[in-house]
């Protein structure tokens, strides 16, 4: 019996996971957060301290596969920036297939806050080249991005007339599901002392804590939980009344984690019973 449990057909586990994911997803059960991670609070406080008109650059280095975790982070950050009348530049430094994801969300959230493309925000998109692009933006952004995603020259975009390089940008936020954060930290913080923050997927958090501790980045949004925490903070401050996907995602994540913990506990109980039985026989 115990042996059967230990070698349980994985299709049963798939079924359990399907139920705990689909039910909260279909019912849209929101689970709001009530405690905030230090790393999220630090990023919120940094943006909160900015004066209207300051510039935030957001680099979307993720694709649709990670958008469940990172798109709610982008939405929450945009709400915060636009509500505080900050100007926002969107780029895709490392991943080209998220240009439309970012562009659509920038337009949507900007519209909710009555912001204008050009004076209040702009989207520069993706340019091949990798690391040299990061370095050259430290000297002249227009040398990397002569035009925006609408094929409009940067000199014709009102907000970009006063923004030449990192010196004119108060904060860069890299939302990443790929290995881009070390490049931003090593080259953009290391060489230009640019204030940096990150929003990453859950599995990437542990590798970035040393940079947070060393003060190389001012905050990290940890996965979907980070998005839910940020949503809580901006809603609490009345910056937006739009419900975010972070809180709804927390419902799914919570039920999934409960199921995983139960699965692990269950398999360990079976494992110990089996080991005791074997030692008794021996």
């Amino acid at each position: 019996m115990i042996q059967k449990l230990l070698s349980l057909d994985r299709r049963w586990i798939f079924l359990i996971i399907a139920v705990v994911v689909f039910v909260p997803a279909i019912l849209k059960i929101p689970v709001p957060v009530s405690t905030i991670s230090n790393s999220t609070q630090q990023l919120y406080d940094t943006i909160e301290g900015f004066e209207p008109g300051e510039v935030v650059m957001i680099s979307l280095d993720y694709g649709p596969s990670s958008m469940a975790e990172l798109q709610p982070q982008l939405t929450a950050l945009l709400h915060h920036c636009f509500a505080k009348d900050l100007r926002v530049i969107g780029i895709n430094w490392a991943v080209f297939d998220s240009v439309l994801l970012g562009q659509n969300e920038f337009d949507r959230v900007a519209r909710l806050h009555g912001k204008t493309y050009g004076p209040d925000y702009c989207y520069l998109g993706y340019k091949p080249g990798g690391l040299p692009n990061l370095l050259d933006m430290g000297k002249d952004i227009s040398s990397v991005y002569p035009k925006d995603v609408h094929n409009k020259s940067l000199t014709d975009i009102p907000m970009m007339k006063a923004i030449k390089n990192y010196d004119h940008i108060s904060l860069v936020v890299d939302l990443a599901s790929v290995g881009s954060p070390p490049f931003w930290i090593n080259y953009v913080y290391g060489r230009f002392q640019q204030t940096l923050a990150l929003g990453v997927t859950g599995v990437m958090i542990s590798e970035l804590y040393p940079a947070l501790d060393a003060g190389q980045i001012v905050g990290i949004l940890p996965g979907l939980l980070g998005a839910a925490e940020y949503e809580y903070l901006i809603q609490d401050a009345n910056y937006t009344m739009e419900g975010g996907d972070g809180a709804t995602g927390m419902g799914i994540q919570s039920f999934l984690h409960v199921a995983l913990i139960l699965i692990i506990v269950f398999c360990n109980i079976a494992f110990f019973i089996d080991r005791r039985n074997r030692s008794n026989i021996a």
């Binding site: 349980l8 994985r10 586990i13 798939f14 996971i17 849209k28 929101p30 689970v31 709001p32 009530s34 991670s37 649709p64 596969s65 958008m67 469940a68 297939d97 439309l100 994801l101 659509n104 900007a110 519209r111 909710l112 009555g114 204008t116 493309y117 050009g118 004076p119 091949p128 080249g129 990798g130 050259d136 000297k139 040398s143 609408h150 859950g202 542990s206 590798e207 804590y209 501790d213 996965g223 809603q235 009344m241 419900g243 975010g244 809180a247 709804t248 927390m250 419902g251 994540q253 919570s254 039920f255 999934l256 984690h257 409960v258 199921a259 995983l260 913990i261 699965i263 692990i264 494992f271």
Partner: protein, 373 residues
């Protein structure tokens, strides 16, 4: 010679770039910019080579009819569909951003959009909704659909009656929203959004209840902006259109959002199932090391699930005053910031030393694996 020249080039450029880092002179910066330009150009060619390689591999699969060769046809369909859609979009709407002639800017004033200005904008390629107004906003003019915002004193009794789904006629009448009649002819649905309720009808009306006290109704807005001094000076003014005012990129956007995004997200989502299956088989406390890994994993999962870390924790341990409310989050932060970070730093230092030694080996021509040797 075939081997020596690439190695010499690699070593020379590599050492130059390393030395350049320590010489903040204009000439050295110009050199770096030039190299960066070359890298960007090479990166574009990498895309071209990649595309060529993809086509060659899949053509061969189709020609040789290897197993599952039919999927290669799907690759070509996808490969051709997106550029084709972009081409169609480009032909349909050649100019998204309109330009307003200077002689018409004097006609702008707060209120309805003058017919002559409307005609000029439409001819310029801007797709405008039937009824729009113009409003002076600082140094620019904003063209938008009518925007409405209302506040009401919806009682908590009404709010408690809200439920997911369709709103009934009685509840609709109970809303005492000043200056607003919810559209009778259109179905209004209610959706819970965290601490708010969203009342939606035909994607036009949003009713948001905040903290059971404030009720705000706003109409979804679309807008275009004429950017320029106010009062408007001379010269043609660019018009920045929001997405809903223009149709450019609609086919590509539709394909991206409705085909590519769900496919990519679905592929990645399958990981959850395999992780669960792997956890069942691998997460067993066989040794002390495995037990530590198991405990750290369970604590992180517990703290990353608000249902457990907040709601469950408060209901079970809320009465214990010596434990802080955010205890699971504090434990998680400690694991990440103390033992996790110590291990991570050790790994990163090791990686950095390894990268330095490997780079030196490549620069000195000792390691030639990058040449395919």
């Amino acid at each position: 010679m075939k081997r020596q020249i690439p190695i010499i080039l690699c070593s020379l450029l590599g050492f130059c770039l390393v030395v350049r880092y320590f010489i903040p002179h204009r000439l050295s910066q110009d050199f770096e910019s030039t190299v960066n330009d070359w890298v960007r150009i090479l990166a574009v060619f990498a895309f071209v080579i990649g595309l060529g390689s993809l086509i060659r591999v899949h053509l061969r699969r189709i020609a040789m009819k290897v197993s599952h060769w039919q999927y290669s046809i799907v690759v070509f369909v996808g490969l051709l569909l997106m550029p084709l859609a972009a081409l169609v979009d480009f032909v349909k709407t050649p100019n998204q951003l309109a330009s307003l002639p200077a002689n018409l800017t004097s006609k702008l004033q707060n209120g309805p959009l003058p017919a002559t200005v409307r005609q000029a904008l439409t001819e310029g390629g801007l797709s405008l909704p039937p009824v729009v107004t113009v409003e002076s906003v600082g140094k620019r003019w904003k063209i938008q659909e009518q925007r409405q915002q209302f506040a009401t004193d919806a009682s908590s009794e009404i709010i408690t009656q809200l439920d997911q789904g369709k709103i009934d006629r009685i509840l609709r009448q109970k809303f005492s929203v000043r200056d607003l009649q919810l559209p009778e002819s259109i179905e209004v649905t209610v959706q819970s959004k965290g601490r708010r309720w969203l009342l939606e009808s035909g994607a036009l009306w949003y009713l948001l209840i905040y903290q059971n006290q404030i009720l705000t109704v706003s109409r979804d807005t679309t807008a275009a902006y004429i950017v320029g001094p106010n009062p408007v000076g001379s010269g043609d003014l660019p018009v920045y259109a929001s997405r809903k005012f223009s149709k450019q990129g609609s086919s590509v956007n539709w394909l991206f959002l409705n085909v590519y995004v769900p496919l990519d997200a679905t592929m990645f989502s399958l990981l959850a199932f395999f992780i669960a299956s792997a956890a069942y088989r691998a997460f067993r406390a066989r040794t002390m090391d495995a037990t530590l890994l198991l405990l750290a994993g369970v604590i992180l999962m517990f703290a990353n699930a608000p249902l457990l870390a907040n709601q469950f924790w408060h209901s079970v341990f809320g009465g214990l005053n010596f434990l802080p409310d955010a205890f699971p989050t504090l434990v998680k932060d400690w694991i990440l910031q103390v033992p996790g970070m110590a291990a991570r730093r050790a790994i990163q230092i090791g990686l950095a030393l390894g990268a330095i030694s490997q780079s030196l080996r490549i620069l000195l021509g000792i390691d030639r694996a990058w040449m395919g040797e």
